[in-house]
């Protein structure tokens, strides 16, 4: 159960289920990273600092009342958008992508901020709108979602862009988007797919999707990653090759073994059984989020918990789907496990906010 510990004048807000399962996942992640980085202790130490800081951040962010987030949600989104523009201008370019802002001691991937700010803002915008959401509010919401999607997508970062987009749509849907609207727009989207394909996808993105459909068309190009990933996973078998025994990772056949493809390392070394155990933690976290969302104190909290947990679920699914080859390679870390800075911290922040939403009970209004 969610806890509210009261000490005289102030209370501590804390959900032990989420806290413990996330902590355990994070610690397992450190072990996996040790193996994936071929025993690079400094990478593990750096990551554990992030984990420690992340858990602390999660705890701190659980404390404010949801109203704090509701009130400041507009400020957050404006700040996040400003940061996005700043990235566009001052960002560091790595491999043709401008996604990072350098603060000296820390490099911030700004799309990670907007990934959280958008759901909270949309929740605060929609929580008091009558059901079903009117066409006017729907269009305002959609305009914002597309605008922000476009900001992220143009970095370019299709993966995060899709997560942001999906998160926005979830919230709109959870908030009570009219069914008529849903079916009409779905029909229109299907009809406009060829146009999107020709005008909005970069050639390399189109190539990725094509090689996804027919991997043999490009054996050493973009599908090299996915081929090696499949070999790593498949060769792990039922029980795996053992900790640090994965040849695909150790001999560098697996690309991005520490980040996007860390799941393949785990699958190679711990097999199908290991994967099932690991995924049960994620499963538990998601189930807990459903419970918390349904039982949250008001519509704002419900929408926020629902939206943020779906951001988490989408990220996880995109990562897993990509690694096993059922969706195209888009570049997406595995939450709490992959090596990273901003992307790792963003989920501690998200869960901190989720816990805040879940643990604060409404003060009785006089």
């Amino acid at each position: 159960m969610k806890k509210k510990l009261t000490f005289k004048n102030f209370s501590i807000y804390f959900d032990q289920y989420l806290f413990i399962s996330i902590s355990l996942l994070s610690v397992m992640g450190l072990f996996f990273l040790y193996s994936a980085s071929q025993g690079d202790l400094s990478a593990v130490i750096k990551q554990s600092i992030f984990v420690g800081f992340g858990l602390f951040l999660m705890f701190i962010l659980s404390q404010p009342d949801p109203d704090f987030y509701k009130i400041f949600s507009s400020l957050f989104i404006v700040l996040a958008i400003v940061l996005m523009f700043a990235t566009m201008i001052f960002g560091r370019e790595i491999n043709g992508a401008k996604r990072w802002l350098n603060f000296g001691f820390f490099t911030l991937q700004t799309s990670e901020i907007i990934k959280i700010a958008l759901p909270i803002f949309l929740a605060s915008y929609l929580y008091n709108k009558p059901l079903p959401i009117s066409l006017k509010h729907t269009f305002i919401t959609l305009a914002l979602i597309f605008f922000i999607f476009y900001l992220v997508y143009s970095q370019p970062d299709l993966g995060t862009g899709l997560v942001v987009f999906m998160a926005g749509i979830y919230i709109l849907f959870l908030a009570g988007l009219g069914w008529k609207f849903i079916f009409t727009s779905f029909g229109l989207i299907v009809l406009s797919l060829p146009f999107l394909w020709n005008n909005f996808l970069e050639p390399f993105q189109r190539q990725r999707i094509l090689t996804f459909i027919d991997p043999s068309s490009d054996p050493f190009g973009s599908s090299w990653n996915i081929t090696q990933s499949k070999i790593a996973i498949g060769s792990g078998g039922m029980s795996g090759k053992g900790f640090q025994e994965g040849s695909q990772a150790n001999l560098n056949f697996l690309p991005e073994a520490e980040t996007d493809f860390i799941f393949a390392v785990i699958a190679e070394e711990f097999g199908f059984l290991g994967i099932c155990i690991l995924l049960s933690f994620f499963f538990f976290i998601l189930l807990r989020c459903i419970y918390l969302a349904v039982n949250a104190r008001d519509r704002f909290c419900r929408l926020t918990i629902g939206g943020l947990s779906l951001v988490f679920a989408s990220t996880l699914f995109i990562n897993l789907g990509m690694v096993v080859g059922i969706i195209p390679v888009v570049g997406m870390p595995m939450p709490f496990i992959s090596k990273g800075g901003s992307s790792l911290l963003s989920f501690y922040i998200a869960f901190g906010i989720i816990i805040s939403m879940a643990t604060h009970k409404k003060l009785m209004q006089k």
Binding site: N128, P130, L131, Y170, F173, L174, A175, G176, Q228, K230, I231, A232, I233, G234, S235, G236, G237, M238, S247, Q248, L251, N252, F253, A267, E268, G271, F272, I275, L279, L286, I290, A293, V294, R299, R302, L303, G306, L310, A313, F317, L320, G321, V324, G325, I326
Partner: protein, 612 residues
């Protein structure tokens, strides 16, 4: 603000919609789990194999080629070690400082330096070995060994080059080796069940394959089987560690029937004249001597020859690369006469008592054309014995005239004419046993009776290689039987060949041998000059191949001014009689006299074989 009812409705709607979203995720997730299960459980074997294939690299290790011996067990071709200086490139920090440290000990020329500098980075990044210098001298090896502690990542390794102890004697019989091309290598790898792609030789890359002669015919035995070193490699192809070493199986040695002494004698006797000598051990059909001259050094060809020296050989008018023994086509000339004689007796055209007048020419009744003998005025009254001894053309013209051409062709083919007579010779030529069909197809002319008459003295279209003549000589010596010729005693493919001659008795064979003995021993024999060269009895038949047809000796004197117009000298011989052990054939191009020019070579070779 929304009211309480609406709030309840809103909460219910939210819950339903959240469930819808998660059901959607549930489906997606099940699909993911199904995919993972297929990869890890259903298709595990395939992916396990793929992971192993990813991380292992096989490197072939060369076998050492088999040694080639003569029939008394002396080594003819051996492998001599040469020493190369090699480094483990990835362990060398700076190749420039390595080279400058090395320069006082081992000097590198600019080509070698360029090779090292060009290849260092690549070899280092793949953790491969790099050859710094090939063929170190003993002095260089000694200097390096003393200071090797200074070069922990350099070592000297052995490589083998092919070395013929008698480089010019066996150049056509044994042949030479050379670098392997991709197709050849692939078919070798295929035969040893090794993968064709992705195989890199240990370092020397100098795998050699037999190109000509026995080196080629018996290459599959001599070459051996590749070993393997199996390395673990990373994604960049860099060697991580050696996992397994399967030793190569060295090539089998080849014990030939060749006789070094006889070969030396034959080669020396030929004295660089254009021609060939083939000698056969009659019982086994084995080739004991096989010489084509002029010759060349196989060592130079196998282990590197300058292009200038190579061009000199290629452009030499005497064609040293041409294997006259199995590819030179020569008219058998009078050496055909024993076979024609046997045909006459077999078919009751003549017997030993038959005699006729030899006026020195034969007139073809059909068109009155004159066919001349070699001696003006002829040999008087000749029977078969005398016709053999004095080599009467008239006698054999007349005998051939009475012969059926198709039966005669069949008869000659039994003696190896126009046929393959050797199991393991390299690319032997069948020469030409002409038939009426052949003439019609190739020359657009019908067969004339005159063609048959010419065949009776071994002239015209008929041709044979020295190898075929040696076989013919063996068949004559062995009274109509022989084994197929071979350079080894134990080749599985050797066949026994018997000629069916129903009407030829042992007495006929003895009389034939007697007449061939007369060729040397009789005071009127065409090769009587050979009598004193030996201590035993030899049967022979000499021949003189007319290249330009002349009517008189005076005419010949004019055309012989040009060496290329002079007659070829040719002889077949076997001995010691009456139980011959060796048969021999000798051809000397433009040597003019079979008896006195080719004869001494044949006798010298027989001497070297029989004196033992």
């Amino acid at each position: 603000m929304i009211d309480l009812d609406e709030r309840y409705f809103e909460k219910k709607s939210f819950s339903h919609r959240l469930v819808i979203v998660y059901v959607f995720f549930g489906f997606a997730f099940s699909f993911f789990l199904y995919q993972t299960y297929s990869l890890q459980v259903s298709e595990y074997r395939d992916y396990e194999t793929a992971a192993i294939a990813n991380k292992t690299k096989e490197v072939l290790v060369q076998p050492v080629r088999g040694i080639i011996y003569d029939r008394s067990g002396k080594i003819i071709v051996n492998n001599v070690p040469t020493y190369d200086l090699i480094v483990k490139a990835s362990l060398i920090k700076s190749i420039d400082s390595f080279l400058s440290d090395l320069s006082p000990i081992i000097e590198l020329d600019t080509n070698e330096l360029d090779y090292v500098k060009e290849n260092f980075d690549l070899k280092a990044s793949y953790n491969r070995e790099l050859i710094i210098k090939k063929n170190l001298s003993t002095e260089e090896i000694a200097k390096f060994e003393v200071r090797s502690y200074k070069f922990p990542h350099a070592f000297i390794d052995v490589r083998y080059s092919r070395y013929n102890n008698y480089p010019k004697l066996f150049s056509h019989a044994i042949g030479y080796v050379g670098g392997v091309n991709n197709d050849e290598l692939n078919s070798i790898l295929d035969s040893q069940a090794l993968p064709q792609i992705d195989t890199i030789f240990k370092y020397s890359n100098g795998f050699q394959i037999g190109k000509t002669g026995l080196e080629s015919t018996y290459d599959h035995i001599l070459r051996g089987k590749f070993g393997k070193k199996i390395y673990e490699v990373d994604a960049r192809g860099r060697f991580v560690e050696e996992r397994q070493f399967i030793k190569p199986t060295n090539g089998e040695d080849l014990y030939t029937t060749l006789d070094i002494e006889a070969q030396k004698v034959a080669y020396d006797q030929m004295d660089n004249r254009r021609g060939a000598v083939v000698a056969i051990e009659i019982d086994s059909g084995s080739i004991v001597s096989y010489v084509s001259t002029p010759s060349f050094s196989t060592n130079a060809i196998s282990n590197g020859i300058s292009s200038k020296a190579f061009n000199t050989l290629i452009q030499d008018n005497n064609k040293p690369f041409f294997d006259r023994a199995s590819q030179g086509r020569y008219s058998p000339a009078s050496t055909i006469k024993p076979a024609i004689a046997l045909f006459g007796i077999e078919n009751n055209i003549i017997d030993w008592d038959f005699s006729m007048e030899d006026p020195g020419y034969f007139i073809l009744p059909e068109d009155q054309r004159v066919y001349r003998g070699w001696r003006k005025g002829g040999h008087g009254n000749v029977n078969l014995n005398k016709a053999m001894i004095v080599s009467s053309n008239t006698f054999f013209f007349s005998l051939a005239y009475k012969s059926d051409i198709n039966e005669l062709i069949e008869h000659l083919s039994n003696f190896g004419f126009g046929a393959k007579v050797c199991v393991d010779c390299f690319n032997p030529d069948k020469a030409l046993l002409p038939t009426p069909e052949w003439k019609m197809n190739n020359l657009n002319f019908g067969w004339f009776k005159g063609d048959t008459v010419n065949m009776g003295v071994g002239q015209g279209y008929l041709s044979a290689t020295p190898l075929q003549l040696a076989y013919y000589s063996t068949v004559l010596a062995n009274k109509g039987t022989s084994k197929e010729l071979s350079f080894t005693y134990d080749n599985q493919d050797i066949k026994n060949l018997n000629i069916q001659l129903d009407n030829i008795s042992n007495i006929d064979w003895k009389r034939l041998h007697q007449s061939m003995i007369g060729v040397i021993e009789s005071p009127i024999g065409t090769a009587k000059s050979l009598q004193e060269l030996k201590t035993y009895i030899v049967a022979a038949k000499s021949g003189t191949v007319e290249l330009v047809s002349t009517d008189t000796k005076e005419d010949y004197k004019i055309i012989r001014e040009n060496e290329g117009n002079r007659d070829h000298a040719i002889i077949i011989a076997f001995g010691p009689m009456p139980n011959p052990k060796y048969a021999v054939s000798v051809v000397i191009e433009n040597g003019e006299s079979g008896g006195s020019v080719a004869g001494p070579v044949a006798i010298a070779v027989l001497n070297s074989l029989i004196d033992k």
